[in-house]
């Protein structure tokens, strides 16, 4: 009986752990299919930080070095 109880606790903890380990993965609403950030209409991944141009309207005020185009990514996904 003790073994059975231990097995139940172990299995439950393992499954709960596994299901929460994917917290940083994007999933479509109501679906277990991961979002593929390759093509679509909504912004999926954006580039930030050093090298990204910073603008404020009405005129450009930043003298940041523009981001290398080969590193520029504004990946999108299908909703």
């Amino acid at each position: 009986m003790k073994k059975l109880l231990f097995a139940a606790v172990l299995a439950t903890v393992a499954i709960a752990g596994a299901s929460s380990a994917n917290a940083l993965t994007l999933y479509r609403q109501g679906s277990s299919t991961p979002i593929v950030c390759e093509q679509g209409e909504a912004t999926c991944i954006d580039v930030i930080g050093q090298g990204t141009k910073v603008y404020s309207f009405p005129n450009a005020t930043s003298t940041d070095t523009p981001v290398d185009p080969s590193l520029y990514q504004n990946l999108e996904y299908q909703l």
């Binding site: 073994k3 059975l4 097995a7 139940a8 172990l10 299995a11 439950t12 393992a14 499954i15 709960a16 299901s19 917290a23 940083l24 994007l26 999933y27 479509r28 609403q29 109501g30 950030c37 390759e38 093509q39 679509g40 209409e41 909504a42 912004t43 999926c44 991944i45 954006d46 580039v47 930030i48 930080g49 050093q50 090298g51 990204t52 141009k53 910073v54 603008y55 404020s56 309207f57 009405p58 005129n59 450009a60 523009p66 981001v67 290398d68 185009p69 080969s70 590193l71 520029y72 990514q73 504004n74 999108e76 299908q78 909703l79």
Partner: protein, 353 residues
Amino acid sequence: MKKTLVYITIIAICSALILYKFSTLGQKNKKNGFERNLISVKIKIKSVINLQKKVSFIGNLDSTIVLNVYSDKIRVFKTDLSLKKLDTVLLKFPSSFNTTINIYKDIDPFNVYCSNPLGDITVFNGLDVGSYKVRDAIIDRFVAVSTKTIIARARHNYDKESNRAFVKLKLSDKMITNKRYSLPKQENGFFANDGQLSYDHKNGRLLYMYFYRGEFLCLDTNLNLLYKGKSIDTVTSVKIKTAIINLKATKTGGSIKQITQASPPSVVSRYMTVSSGRLYILSALKSDKEKPATFATNHAVDVYDLKNGRYLHSFYIPKYKGIKLNQFQIKGKSLIGIYDTELVCYDFIEKRI
């Protein structure tokens, strides 16, 4: 020992099934706090073409269907409502235009317009290409409101946060953003204010539908807000949690950070299109009286009066062979839907109220 392993396996399977059941039960029967006025429409398949690749619509011309193939950035594809043949248009770009990054496109009866995130804009009339450079804004999606004017969605930063705005650009040698409309300031506005930009040529109205809250904006071509529409759901705010997921080293020793949404995005509205003075929104939310099984096999479209954003009614577009509808357009008595790689044209009659 063997017995224990058997017990662990059985219990693991049972636990997984119970967890799965609970997780899907909540989504299927979730009460979203609104009702739809569903009407029956005539919708019957007329023609189908499998394009083999994922596509999206470009612009919204009267009888021509213009398509963007995500994996083919330098061409656009044209067909008509019979879907019998697909014409390819190879676009021209000047050597200064970077075509290895995102290319955004729009079309009118005369030109194909392209832009990239570095501010390069081209106008291709089938023979010649005009080239322009936006120098004071980073733009992405845009609409051509005339042959010499575009309205684009731009990014701007405040207090170290990125946000979005619309800018009006006159295509000329000295391109500057002479009009603008900023979207509401909020945390992670770059993601929270993400949405779809569209232009109704017949009425000269700019429309912007938010993906993550049930609101849409209607502006004139000088970017004056005409009204803020509320879709029939109850979602008025959006909570976006972001995470930095990667660090890329640059050649100069610095680093480029990438940011994305850390939690699953709760999509409210997936797509919008305009036809005959009506705004059609492809909703992602089930109303309370809809049956989960019906909602799972159909897509709910909510219809609004373009003049004032007033809700009129809703109808269903069925899934095609179990495939989810991505985008749709209505041209006269035809409704054209993109289902992954399939393009489906329906005979469509919507009851007028």
